[in-house]
């Protein structure tokens, strides 16, 4: 039993990742992946059945959003809820900013449905907010809604600044802009939270 097949599978998966990161999802195809991996394309069909199968395998193997577990431990127990929510959102966005692959997948998700984009979307959802909501850490539904909206807004800004295409001069890749945005969000979260429980 020759175990070269495992190595080949790995090269194909690596090639796919490399290709998505460098050329974007529009450049993904059987020929392109095979070329990138330095492998005959027939092997893609042999080992993954089809392009769909390859995408599925890639999604299964890859971790896109490994931040939440460690993040929750990092937040002090006595921190107010709005601070927790703010931290989660900002950290999540920062993780996205540090991962060109995730950015590309987020774009892909908006224009097409395939095994990879679907699984990626689920993972992002779980990774960011659902874990918190399900565990009841933030019981206020409105706070969750607001957090999701802000999270999506920052995500969108990150995706735009990727192409030097900032919205309203909010180029999230610039540190000073990011600092300002984070300050505004923190203040807003606090204000919103207090306005809902004025007696506390």
């Amino acid at each position: 039993m020759n175990k070269n097949s495992e190595k080949t599978k790995y090269r194909i998966l690596k090639g796919l990742e490399e290709l998505i990161t460098r050329e974007g999802f529009t450049g993904v195809g059987v020929n392109a992946v095979a070329r990138e991996a330095g492998v005959d394309k027939v092997l893609i069909y042999r080992y993954f059945g089809s392009m769909e199968g390859l995408l599925r395998a890639f999604a299964d193997e890859k971790e896109f959003c490994p931040l939440v577990a460690g993040l929750l431990n990092d937040i002090p127990e006595e921190a107010p809820l709005y601070e927790v929510a703010t931290r989660i959102v900002l950290e999540h966005v920062r993780a996205l900013q540090n991962s060109p692959l995730a950015q590309e997948l987020a774009c892909w998700e908006l224009s097409e449905q395939n095994p990879l984009t679907v699984l990626f979307g689920k993972e992002m959802e779980n990774g960011a907010m659902k874990a918190l909501a399900d565990r009841g850490i933030i019981p206020d539904e409105d706070v969750i809604t607001l957090s999701v909206i802000v999270l999506c807004g920052l995500q969108y800004l990150v995706l735009r600044s990727r192409n030097n295409n900032p919205m309203m001069d909010i180029d999230y890749s610039k540190p000073e802009t990011r600092e300002k945005v984070e300050r505004v969000i923190a203040a807003m979260m606090k204000a919103f939270f207090k306005s809902r429980e004025p007696l506390k």
Copy 2:
């Protein structure tokens, strides 16, 4: 002088719009547009020079964001600023929701740079917020920043719900969800605004 050329140009532009709306931007190409318009593709080169030229012409001819002018008149003079900002954001998003073409262009803008996406982006920017900021209607920079973030967040949610791919069950195409979101945003805007000018 035969004026058929104008009619042909119109058919090509219409075909492009139809194609983007129905098939998405990934399906756009010389052959596809010509087929959709029922016209030989050589005419695209003759009248627009290239695919780029066609996209430019399409962007020049089309109005993507015709709402702001009328909208500003519609808002009462004495309305507080946070209400103005909220209204602008929500109306803008609603307009996006009613325009599948604009949604597709917003996605396209995230993955590629071409004359159409660039001009579309500028128009969206001007249409939504810049006009206000430039005219000093909302002088508070932080309010603008926050509004842009929220606007982007809702835009992102609209783009996702397009593919039945809601984020955290926030399916913005459902009326009850939209209502709730609008309520939360209005409350947040008010709270944030008041927290900045507690003496007023």
